[in-house]
Symmetry: C2
Subunit: 527 residues, 2 copies
Amino acid sequence: MAQTRRQFLQQVGITGGAGVLYSTMSALGLTSVAETPAYAAPSRADLTGRGAKHIVVLGAGIAGLTSAYELLKAGYKVTLLEARNRPGGRNWTVRGGTVETDLAGNTQRATFSPGQYMNAGPARLPQHHVTLEYCRELGVAIEPFVNQNADAYLYREGSTALSNKAIRHRTAKADVYGYVAELLATATDQGALDGRLTAADKEALIGFLGSFGSIGNKAAGFAYTGTDGRRGYTVEPGAGLEGGTTAPPYALSDVFASGVGNYFSFEFGWDQAMMMFQPVGGMDRIPYAFERAIGKDKIRYGAEVTGLKNTGSGVEVTYKDGTRTRMITADYAICTLPPHLAAKVPSNLPAPIIEALKYARPTNAGKIGIEYGRRWWEEDHKIYGGITNSSLDTVNTWYPSYNFHGERGTVIGYYNTGANANAYGALTPAARLERALMQGAKMHGDVYTKDVKAAFSVNWLGTKYSEASWVSWPSQTDGIYARLLDATGNIYFAGDHLSHVIAWQHGAITSARATVTALHDRVVASR
Amino acid sequence: MAQTRRQFLQQVGITGGAGVLYSTMSALGLTSVAETPAYAAPSRADLTGRGAKHIVVLGAGIAGLTSAYELLKAGYKVTLLEARNRPGGRNWTVRGGTVETDLAGNTQRATFSPGQYMNAGPARLPQHHVTLEYCRELGVAIEPFVNQNADAYLYREGSTALSNKAIRHRTAKADVYGYVAELLATATDQGALDGRLTAADKEALIGFLGSFGSIGNKAAGFAYTGTDGRRGYTVEPGAGLEGGTTAPPYALSDVFASGVGNYFSFEFGWDQAMMMFQPVGGMDRIPYAFERAIGKDKIRYGAEVTGLKNTGSGVEVTYKDGTRTRMITADYAICTLPPHLAAKVPSNLPAPIIEALKYARPTNAGKIGIEYGRRWWEEDHKIYGGITNSSLDTVNTWYPSYNFHGERGTVIGYYNTGANANAYGALTPAARLERALMQGAKMHGDVYTKDVKAAFSVNWLGTKYSEASWVSWPSQTDGIYARLLDATGNIYFAGDHLSHVIAWQHGAITSARATVTALHDRVVASR
């Protein structure tokens, strides 16, 4: 047994366990430190002396892969069924050679150059997500993902002096913060907040505002003049006597009316604040690393589930394998299919469970990858990665976070959701590109339309086996959603949709861990 | 001639020129866009039909290397004299095997593991610095340098609830911005700023503050409650019903009194705002790439300048080469030595020039690299790169921006300047480490003192051939500094000190370009 365990550990390449608690930080008494919910991987020792239970896992997305991986570590027998011919589900990296036909019948064949790719689904990993722990454990190399860049642009349509042109994030931030500081210092100094602030508070606050907004002192009326270079230069400081030339700030009314400040809070978010990371070479390095650790022999690709049944002693799953229908029996099933698709699978699940599955609301997101023959955003605009955010229907433009200074590069021309994603999704891939180029040129000039080498777009609502970018729930506290958190007979559910971290791999992993733990506890209790 | 030019271009690996203007952006009419001062490399064609002038360059730091490189491109004959046995000057990467004896007689021999290094001098490159253009031109691979991280700490000594413990940047930012928003929305709504704001301004401002501070609406008194997760969780959102648990924000008085907000503006700076970059493998990849492009045969290492003279027809430079004194004559000299050291070189420079050289004020900076056997900041603290800033004398702790998830890692235990740098510099290297570990443990716990594999510290004021981290000028506009911007006879000066971008390689490069341009124009005019 010890030998078998050692062999298994070698096979899956495990030298340490994911889910270690932040004991050091607790010991320090640090507050405001997040703790990943504690996870104790099922223990092989618990199962000593009994036959291995067989678990069939439906879906080889991140939840299914995590479930299979953790169960195999504990000594369970596992079979993974996956309709696609690759692991990962929505974790999908498109490279040259990728072929996909969507539900509307559009077939795209990606012609990206070697080394160029787009992450069609998840693309970024916060430092505190357990996804990074699996990267470490599975040997997936990581590198920074540029989620914030002072030199990327904000673009807002409108009628202000800042509207309808590309404004650097740094410029917008300097002007917004400058005026905020000027206004609050003035009101504070004039006693408008004396009901809230002591004399000491006022002094400390005005001191902070001085550096925060780079404003003048009281004698200077706390005025924001924008001369410290923070907002950018028209001529950079340089050699000799060149101290730099600045342009005056935009007028206060224009700054706030333009709406450029309304994007700032994105960068403060729990899941979005820098630093962020990505696997080197594409997000699908994660599912492929899981596949290696699990063993390809345990995964049946091209297996589309057509039936799911609780039996007296276990479960019975039928699936189509090309034109043939096959059946597999097991002790338990973990269903990680998207809930709105799982609801359509013929089953003997009780009506309240079907109702709960149908309670999920599919959301759409769209992305287009555009490969250029030259990295003009670096060479001409001095933008090395990051996001340009706009009020156009493209919403977000991502400059690539890999291959800096390389010959070619692949920009994400739009990453949008909801109605904007639906609008692009309704177009043919060629028309999506045409529209994306037109919108991008408004922000970047004609260079945006030139030297395009390849493009590929995804419309998640129309993507087979997903039919959504993610789902939302009308409520996660009214008891309907909660029906899916416990086993129904021998059938369990898992997926990012069964978490409070929907649309992130972290949600899929923590849900899978919770499900695996519940299943294991039941097996152990049944001794 | 054409053949020679082609051969030369092949030799130095040049396929495009640095210094291209941002023509695309001008065409777009973008405002607030920095432009690197225009630079037209000296043209070889200008020199057709005359003998090549010989330039001796004093110092193979970035200014000297840039001067030599640009002059060689134009067909000049160049000799570089460098006192050290390596190129780069203050651009210095310490690796295992590096040996250095400082002016106080401390000898350190670095024992960092293979792949581990510290950049003792410059360590980060903003996107808009021409240094990156030379990286592209010279084939130096780059990767992100993490200059900002929401999960790194702020540590302030004091007597508030936030004092004497490590506070995540994200927590400090959420609380500071939350209260700023609450206060300004309240004052605005109550009419305290009606003299400055129109009704439309007030509505737009309050709308912005809602997202900026994540505060309640008017009915909720614009209250900041810190419940959106931005400041961190005590229990992260996770599977099933785990929506995350937050701790209440720190009290307003404590937040402002603590001073945690006073660091924020660092991240808005023209030269410091993310994104920032570093060469893969160490900053000295840049000087070594210059060395390759220039040709080692044109650089004399171990050559300490002992005399500098204008003669009727050119210049005469004497230098010590070990125990021997040598002399070199040339048409022109470019002196890139630190000004306070150049002032001490025996020369026939006129008194006003010596006075100008002496006008520079040396500044100190210190750094210590500490290699650990485990990347505990990533594993235990979930901090992947970035800066912890404190009121302790260590001031800045840098987590490494390379080899994420690797086995070992090298933390910069302090990066400080002025009096703090002098205090550490006065200690022995062993005592510096001891003190740095004690201070670091206050912020990170005992783990900071454990599993230390190697350490190396630099005290720039005591470092031979530099004797400063950089210099400052009492004034750059009173005419004294300006004396060094024109040639004195056949002697030119260059260096970051002769720019408004002091302490950055960008300053050294732009200064060198200005000097090379002036010299070339004179040669062409003398036809």
